[in-house]
Amino acid sequence: MTDHALERSLLADLRRVLGADGVVDEPGSLIVYESDGLTAYRARPSAVLLPRTTADVATSLKLLSDAGIPFVARGAGTGLSGGALALDGAVVVSVARMDRILSLDAPNRVARVQPGVVNVELTAAAAPHGLYYAPDPSSQTVCTIGGNVAENAGGPHCLKYGTTTNHIVGLTVVLSDGTVATLDRGASGGLDLVGVFIGSEGTFGIATEIDVALLPVPEGVETMLALFDDIDDASRAVSAVIAAGLLPAALEMVDREAIRAVEASAYAAGLPTDVAAALVIEFDGPYAAVRHDVEAAIRVCLDGGARDVLRAADEAERQRLWHARKKAFGAMGRIAPDVLVQDAVVPRSKLPATLRTVYEIANRHGLVMCNMFHAGDGNLHPTLVFDRRDADQLRRVEQASKEMMAVCVAAGGTITGEHGVGVDKRDYMDMIFTESEMSAMCDIRRAFDPLGLANPAKVLPVHVCREWVGPATRRGEAAR
């Protein structure tokens, strides 16, 4: 029995609602829920719940809140900020069994989905109607729409199509006391509570029905790979493409270390391993527009010093190219036991200088680093590979991370572009927000979760929400 074991009566009540197999509390079965994609952090939940409907979630959260037990929602557990970490014996509410597409209205291009629907499966379901769901994080073959909503997930195509918040038009959410709220974007004069909820990282409640906007599948799509022998040329070309009046659907950069890791792995796509960096540039839209933009982009890259620009010859080659980019992070695992990926953003105009500084920081700390990132929106992902069992390496990694983040903030950027704050960047929030602003954010959170039970200790530094009673204390009070 762990210190945070739930009362037998509470477990029994939960099993009455969710079924015997809807409540997991056997320690061996809880191990897989101890961390998300950021495996450096682990915490064992006191139990895992597996609801199937909004009513299941509402009744469960009511039971938990009556007992003062905090909870944390979990999608596929691919998050990269420790957002799904069950601190202080919180109960994990897994949406894995809430995986149905409830409705799809093709003429109006909307669908209503449960939070456990996998991102690519939504697009697959929309495909027969000539539609798709645009936000495509690299983890899209496993990550869930619910998780995407919690993190305001992005992906390579958000340069043109925006992030999750640009594609969600309504939400049903269950609040920490079990009540159900229907949120909209405030079109008829109210507040945009959908917009406020998205990216709240599970700290406001659990979205149990999500109204998504679907887009028509573009008529044409073309992907190219621009090869550069000089990193500066590559990063300057990013701005040059945009300055030429072009808006690619995606504009990614991969450097030599990243290419070598990918080519040595199962995801090899025949990328040349002797370049300093490569840009993956994609255009989509009507055929005539795509043709024009591709030719213009090729000219910009060649004028900017590209050694060559290769165009994917067919759909298979295009898919292979994207597979390589999206799986590159997974390929890093072959190089070293541990990987730490940063998620900082700078204005595009600052990209060349920032990238140079990031390489300098890694070199100075004697660390192996690779970069594969969303250059078009200035969203860097410096990826450090190391072995955390080596305490000195770990220290240097942490120091380098902090320096890189400071450089990006100083350049006019932010500390996280898409991975979220979670636990990982909670203590860096004061790099970009004043105490007054963090206090205001605490107020926003309290408006949704006055009880403080929804994923506590995430996003905001704990000292900010001063009047907040911690979950352990609340549990003690409830027990009296």
Binding site: A181, I242, D293, I432
Partner: protein, 456 residues
């Protein structure tokens, strides 16, 4: 609090130029204000709001004042007359790095001035709400106002990257930033965008901009009825890549051929626009009925005298506005029915109604020029519109003109009560003395015309 003391205190908090004389500009046509003050700095805005919050003086935020309306309309009330706080002196470009496609602007800068500055860099802000000359970017974002370009470019919530705001109790806060990807902390940008000044006053904004397209042309197609025009527009929406797509009554200032017009804006590279024109031509020919006179060029008129700016100004200048949101595929019937309902009302009042619709998002608009409605007529109109909205499961907002205030119907159903509770807690957090919400709060308690629609 006496009037003179209040004015003296406001000058002390700001400067001698801040107090605008009675009847100044466009502010007092719409409200009975105790004073109109335009602070010259963000800190002065904060000082004024802190002061009003401490003393319970209601505040009406405004930019140039073109969208101001009286939130207390039609109610018997006892409270102090509001102060209008205008951002018009917070004006100018704060930061513009052209290659980042982002611009930072003080909230009181007019959309026209922003556009003029951007044009100098071959850029544009694709935001064209129905607005009078001088309408500010801050007010546009506060209201979430948008026009025809929302079809391809979205709403203010989709293009605002960062905001500086002053809360109801005078705190200066900054949310978001100047980068397009930002998930640090909670989304204060989307909280304040469209909040209508109920949480605070926006004093600066960072917004995404675009390059000016190589080609930008507008075409019109004539149709014999609202239903037909909307059907044609929906067919275009499904097949052609356009920048804006409107259905308008052929009425007075524009082309005049046929009773209704579909107005289509195409923008992009020359090759792309040419291809979409061909696609449009192939689509339209079989759709336009034979008895509607076709122009020489493939059934549509080049330009046809359509002027986006003029039509926007005309819509904004009207005294009364109705806005109905339905599912896009309902647009043909909703537009047809809405025009019939409103025009059957019109017989008893002097004034001309005009109609239009955003064909992509399913928003039907109607506006009325001529003699302003009186309160009884306005309430009757609002009743008919909101009743219609309820019947088709949509939502509606009627802005009845300055001193007549607004009426709203929004979707309801299970979950609304919890949502309202969240909204009230948020408002209490940012405006603890409720000085920005005096009208809204009373209206929720007392307004018989606040209708809720059943949702499915």
């Amino acid at each position: 609090m006496s009037g003179t003391h209040l004015l003296r205190d406001l000058v002390r908090l700001t400067d001698a130029d801040a107090l605008l004389p009675d009847g100044a500009g466009s502010f007092t046509h719409a409200v009975d204000a105790a004073a109109v003050v335009a602070p010259g700095s963000v800190n002065d805005v904060a000082a004024v709001l802190a002061f009003c919050s401490e003393r319970g003086v209601p505040v009406l935020p405004a930019g140039a004042g073109g969208w101001l309306h009286d939130p207390m309309a039609g109610l018997v009330h006892e409270h102090a007359a509001p102060i209008v706080v205008s951002t018009r002196r917070l004006s100018g470009i704060l930061e513009h790095e052209p290659e980042d496609l982002v611009i930072g602007v003080a909230a009181g800068t007019s959309l026209d001035d922003v556009a003029r500055h951007l044009r100098g860099h071959a850029q544009m802000l694709p935001l064209d709400p129905p607005a009078q000359a001088g309408a500010t970017i801050g007010a546009t974002i506060a209201l979430g106002a948008a026009g025809p370009l929302q079809y391809a470019h979205g709403l203010p919530r989709d293009m605002t990257l960062g905001l500086e705001v002053v809360t109801g109790d005078g705190r200066v806060l900054r949310f978001g930033g100047r980068v397009v990807k930002n998930v640090a902390g909670y989304d204060g940008v989307r909280l304040f965008t469209g909040s209508g000044g109920s949480l605070g006053i926006i004093t600066a904004a960072y917004v995404r901009v675009r390059g000016v397209p190589a080609t930008d042309c507008t075409l019109t197609v004539a149709a014999g009825s609202a239903h037909e025009a909307a059907s044609v527009a929906r067919a275009i929406a499904g097949a052609v890549a356009v920048d804006a797509l409107e259905v308008v009554d052929g009425g007075t200032e524009n082309d005049g051929t046929g009773e209704w017009l579909v107005v289509i804006r195409l923008a992009g590279s020359a090759a792309a626009v040419a291809a979409e024109r061909d696609r449009l031509g192939a689509l339209i020919a079989p759709l336009v009925p034979a008895d509607v006179p076709a122009a020489d060029n493939q059934g549509f008129n080049e330009g046809g005298g359509w002027n986006w700016r003029e039509s926007s100004r005309a819509e904004a200048a009207a005294s009364t506005h109705v806005r109905l949101q339905v599912q896009p595929d309902q647009l043909p019937s909703a537009l047809q029915d809405m025009t019939r309902i409103i025009q059957s009302e019109n017989g008893t009042h002097d004034g001309d109604w005009r109609f239009a619709a955003h064909a992509g998002s399913g928003v039907v608009r109607a506006w009325r020029t001529g003699v302003p409605l009186d309160l009884a007529a306005a309430n009757q109109l609002a009743g008919h519109v909101t009743g219609f909205a309820v019947s088709c499961g949509g939502t509606a907002v009627c802005t009845l003109g300055g001193r007549l205030g607004r009426r709203t119907v929004h979707a309801s159903g299970t979950g609304r009560d919890a949502t309202m509770a969240i909204a009230v807690r948020l408002a209490d957090a940012f405006d603890p003395a409720a000085v920005l919400r005096a009208g809204a709060r009373l209206r929720a308690d007392a307004d018989p015309d606040m209708v809720e629609a059943a949702s499915d």
